[in-house]
Assembly symmetry: C2
Homo-oligomer: 231 residues x 2
Amino acid sequence: MNVAEPSLTRAVVLLSGGLDSSTLLHYVCRRLGVGEVHALSYFYGQKHSRELDMAKWQAAAAGAAEHMVIDLGFFAGLTAGGSALTDPDIPVPDMQAVREEDREQPPTYVPNRNMILLSLAAAFAESRGIADVFYGAQAQDEYGYWDCTAEFLRRINRVLSLNRRRPVTIHAPFIAMRKADELRLGRELGVDYAHTWTCYRGATVPCGTCPACAERRAAFRELGIPDPLAT
Amino acid sequence: MNVAEPSLTRAVVLLSGGLDSSTLLHYVCRRLGVGEVHALSYFYGQKHSRELDMAKWQAAAAGAAEHMVIDLGFFAGLTAGGSALTDPDIPVPDMQAVREEDREQPPTYVPNRNMILLSLAAAFAESRGIADVFYGAQAQDEYGYWDCTAEFLRRINRVLSLNRRRPVTIHAPFIAMRKADELRLGRELGVDYAHTWTCYRGATVPCGTCPACAERRAAFRELGIPDPLAT
């Protein structure tokens, strides 16, 4: 657990509305007992922007002091042709169709997205005089993104530590955890997973076969409980 | 000179429309002979958004293949109360009124702006299959920003180097140069400084007294030439 302050009173939580970040939000509020939580979400042109409705619901459920959704509407143009998550011409693949050689950087990778989102979160925190940001990176079971690793986070924090007046630290308490373990934790915390969204495809019900769905389903299966979204 | 490739054919240049980045653009095109330059500018709520008109002019003058202006209109809200450059309630100070204790992080500092802008530039480059980004950080004569230093850039590049498929490197060839030396170089390259904008205040003529104007004027004075904007 890489939480700097045992008695943290204010924090920023990056909240996508998915399983990881929703669990994290409740973890920060309830387990860490942080009294003033500012949740931050992004619209970056993701096909599954439905997750933002879930983020809003979770922020209210957790009693967040603030929930800001930043519109990065330019993102799809900036990274045109860059990702299956944002480009209508690049279909989201099924998990089983992701080729072995693509596992290191799959088509659902969005160019440099996490560095951008963490940079914005640090600015958001710094402006509010908040020193701690939480984000829900977890150990990827099936494939990895270079910008979800512990080394990536360590290097981001090395940049932010140069700030002379108000350095911000980014924490990822789940970075070594598997999704099933997060789910177990979230259920202890009373997280309502009916109000989370995971599927990368833009439909109103989860496809069940994209990489994100496949990971989520495996976690529920491992715990032997039904996914409320899969019924 | 920290240019990785002696025979660079494609590059991204961060172009604010100020003296530093305009000089850099022409340096990359003419001195380095990069044939395909993609210029990138940002509107982040700066009072001196007039600089973007100058960026457009310079991109055309340099024969850039593309000039994209990204609207980060949310920025002032994200960093509310954070900077004299974006907040209407915080006046831009005169250079001589910047207190000694503020020189390390003056009121014109925008929270984490440079990390955000460089992260976006890296995404922009990566999406286009371009490996090299140039930005116009220079040795600050009068005061320093933590996010303009060589160490900051080194650490940003340490993050980006983790990208397995398409790592991007950010170069700041002027980072150890004084503004007067940049100006001397720019004049050799034929840069037209009448089409650059420096003043932090939002007026139609430079105030002459804000920190940015003070630095610019000192550079022209040192070379013993008139600033075309000051006439």
